[in-house]
């Protein structure tokens, strides 16, 4: 029986489409109160006073908490939200306090929490809090941050929090017959989940137990951070993961509310619920992207790349929290993508501004780096008179060069290499799939008032981050198997593929396996779901444990049935030992990342009168090492592409020159819909298994998104080649593109 590789329908879907999913807002507890958060309307200022008496006196209001209450509880200082990855002491001063004290540094920063009988009363009372803030000039963009005339953190001498160097070889002194230097930028945007964040915290004082529902992504890490900040032993805190409406890297990190809501529940000894509204979601969930660069490529006349060097500037917002350094580290390290670049020197400055904190969103730093690189490559190929496909083919890392060492990032340097791959095969397949040679004659042609263009690009995506994952299996009295795994579900189909993997190893039908995952109540330890890791890390942990369980069950069955262990089919053995309480647990450890890869190609038509771009066709070819489920794998790729098209054309978290937030609703922040981009295809391959895990799988959740900006912008430039239009900045909105067309005409 084969289960891996089969297009099995998602086991999650029946529950969800029948309305039987359980999301945090579906939960109700007796005596439950509701919280609302007062957020700063000022981008940068000093808090002079917060008057809460009037709000406290309003009907239905149970409490108003400010930084003073939190500081008193915490024994003096307001706790901060630490970096979850790449912690370093010199970044600690930039961590976000769980509630603003002395200063506010972005519009949306929490100042007070109101707890009331219901959410409407809590919101009514927000207006009754009087906050006096001495307004300071806002640092509203990269240029203002670099000047450092106004400092976000006065104890620092600069708004540049840190500079990361991605380096390989000697790019600084590399000389070349051809050089081109360009500036590009990607706008601030992020994951906008269908379901906003939410939490329900209950405090059981008699048993010293804090239970927080609404956990996601990394429940065990969140528990550790929360327990420390609550001054509780870890096992007094339970994090419960439920169904969620999207994760994409943003949901499940530690946010201010992850402290404030449990804090309120504990202080009041009542269950407290908080559901983020859409304005808060856009204001204060992690923002991402927002990177500009000034980079140079050095080539031989034949197009062989000698070096890539230059400067990258990340507008990191007001604080570091959670995965805040993931984006600036990635953008430099992966800017060269799947190409052979012997010399790399990229300095990434991380600039603090009065905006919401920046952190990871699907394809962090990679979407941006791929846009910069693929644009630069098309310009270079054009200058050198080399076909842009030939330029890429010449420079792609070859199969024989694997494992291929890439640039390392300092500080906190770690060697990094691509594990396996035949990148040219994916490129050729993408060209075949879109019919490149047939469509070639269309390039730059005006047909019925629209210019047609083609674009192509190649990508790698990192997977399998985090060092370990845990799994456990229990044989139930009814001869079924219960599987527990540390992976969390953020809608990616983790239940389905986990059961497929378990079924494959145990050779029993999927119906005989139940899965529990995510919550800290199921296991002693777990890592979770980020960095495209659940299939590789969770899946491999399941393989390890299933093999163990198989041995345990076979042995017990052999003695019970008095037959040789290897003669007994596993299903029969399981029935024989049901009721004996057999179980197995285990860990999969891996310090090497996987690198899925591929190519994408697009065909667009541009209306020069309006600047509107129609994506006529977009095809991605994506090699994920081993396909567990072709449906969910392709689903990940296609979903990623749609999100990437949103980031390429529509999505933009905007601020004015005073740091005031301009896009607080979905009327201002535009998302892609099904009708916008109907012709998207993903071809999944499994030509190059990863050598670093028993499945050969590679994380595949982010490859779809990373190439979209570069590929589409190249197609637009190709369409408008007769007008000399070169998009250098995202998003490619109709007015912007129209201005480029009109400007270049003059």
């Amino acid at each position: 029986m084969n289960f891996i590789g089969k297009p099995v329908e998602r086991v999650e879907d029946l529950r969800l489409v029948r309305g039987r999913g359980q999301f945090v807002d579906d939960l109700h507890r007796e005596g439950m109160l509701h919280a609302a958060v007062l957020r700063s309307s000022i981008a940068h200022g000093r808090i002079r006073s917060i008057k809460t008496a009037a709000a406290r006196a309003m009907p239905g209001v149970h409490a108003v908490f400010t930084a003073d209450d939190v500081a008193r509880f915490a024994g003096g200082a307001v706790p901060t939200i630490p970096l979850r990855i790449y912690q370093q002491p010199d970044l600690v001063p930039f961590e976000q306090p769980v509630i603003a004290h002395t200063k506010v540094r972005f519009v949306g920063e929490p100042i007070a929490v109101i707890v009331a009988e219901n959410a409407a009363l809590a919101e009514d009372a927000l207006d009754a809090i009087e906050v006096e803030i001495e307004v300071l000039p806002a640092v509203a963009d990269r240029a203002a941050a670099q000047k450092s005339e106004v400092l976000l953190f006065e104890e620092k001498t600069s708004n540049t929090a840190i500079t990361f160097l991605a380096a390989k070889g000697d790019a600084k002194s590399a000389k070349a017959p051809y050089l081109r230097r360009e500036k590009f930028s990607v706008q601030r945007h992020s994951a906008v989940n269908l379901e906003p964040r939410g939490l329900l915290a209950t405090w059981d004082g008699a048993n010293t137990k804090l239970t927080v529902s609404g956990a996601a992504k990394v429940p065990f890490t969140t528990r550790r951070l929360l327990a420390q900040r609550m001054d509780l032993p870890e096992d007094c805190v339970d994090m419960v993961a439920l169904d969620v409406g999207g994760g994409f890297g943003v949901r499940g990190e530690f946010y201010p509310e992850d402290f404030l809501i449990p804090f309120a529940a504990r202080k009041l000894n009542r269950p407290v619920k908080w559901i983020e509204d859409r304005r808060e979601n856009l204001l204060a969930s992690n923002h991402s992207r927002d990177i500009a660069c000034d980079i140079e490529i050095a080539c031989e006349k034949d197009g062989t790349i000698l070096a890539i060097r230059g400067f990258i500037y990340v507008d990191s917002g007001a604080y570091f929290r959670g995965t805040g350094v993931g984006v600036p580290r990635n953008v430099g390290q992966f800017l060269c993508g799947p190409y052979r670049v012997p010399n790399v020197h990229l300095e990434t400055s991380v600039l603090m501004t009065n905006k919401a904190p920046l952190a990871t969103y699907r394809g962090p730093g990679r979407f941006e780096g791929d846009f910069f690189r693929e644009r630069l490559f098309d310009m270079a190929a054009d200058d050198l008179g080399i076909d842009r496909v030939a330029f890429r083919r010449r420079n792609l890392v070859a199969k024989e060069e694997m494992p291929y060492a890439i640039a390392t990032v300092t500080p906190n340097e770690k060697k990094e290499e691509y594990d396996s791959g035949d990148y040219v095969v994916a490129l050729d397949r993408a060209l075949t799939e879109i019919g490149w040679s047939k469509k070639a004659a269309l390039q730059g042609q005006l047909v019925d008032g629209r210019y047609h263009g083609l674009g192509v690009g190649c990508f790698v995506e990192g997977g399998a981050g985090g060092l370990k994952e845990y799994a456990r299996m229990v044989v139930e009295p009814d001869a079924t198997v219960t599987l527990y795994v540390g992976s969390t579900s953020v809608g990616q189909g983790v239940e389905t593929i986990s059961i497929q993997i378990a079924s494959e190893v145990l050779q029993i039908p999927m119906e005989r396996i139940r899965i529990f995952h995510g919550s800290t109540t199921h296991m002693k330890e777990g890592y979770g779901s980020w960095h495209s890791r659940s299939t590789v890390m969770g899946g491999s942990a399941i393989v390890v444990v299933a093999e163990k369980l198989k041995a345990v069950v076979r042995k017990a069955a052999a003695s019970r049935l008095r037959r040789a262990a290897d003669e007994i089919p596993f299903g029969e053995a399981l029935t024989a030992v049901a009721g004996m309480g057999l179980e197995a647990d285990g860990i999969f450890e891996n310090h090497m990342h996987t690198y899925a890869y591929g190519s994408a190609a697009a065909h667009v038509a541009v209306d020069p009168r309006t600047g509107h771009v129609e994506v006529i066709e977009y095809v991605a070819v994506h090699d994920v090492g081993r396909i567990i489920n072709p449906l969910t794998a392709a689903g990940q790729a296609i979903g990623g592409i749609v999100q990437g098209l949103g980031g390429t054309f529509l999505e933009h978290l905007q601020y004015d020159e005073h740091g005031q937030f301009l896009t607080g609703s979905l009327a201002d922040y535009m998302l892609p819909t099904a009708a916008d981009f109907p012709c998207i295809r993903a071809v999944m391959l499994e030509n190059s298994p990863s050598p670093h895990n028993p499945l050969g799988a590679k994380g595949g959740g982010e490859g779809g998104i990373v190439s979209v900006g570069g590929v589409v912008a190249n197609a637009v430039a190709n369409a408008l080649s007769s007008l000399g239009v070169q998009p250098r900045d995202l998003p490619i909105s109709p007015p912007r593109l129209w201005q480029l067309i009109e400007g270049d005409k003059r």
Binding site: N118, A119, A120, E123, D124, D127, D277, R278, R279, S665
Partner: protein
Amino acid sequence: MKLPAFEYASPVTLAEAISLLAATGGKAKLLAGGQSLMPAMAFRLAAPELLVDLRRVPNLDRIEAVYEARAAYAKK
């Protein structure tokens, strides 16, 4: 993004609806479909004291094209 507190009236005649509007001196809003007003209230951009629901008011539930008017328009 919950609604602020407001009074609600559901008149059954046009005259009643008009008198409710007049009596509150501009602090009332008419509620028809609510597609614009409800989000505005949820964002706390609008906080009318009274919502006058037109749901039960007769003769406001259709648009009629009157022949003479159409003929007059066609001549223009």
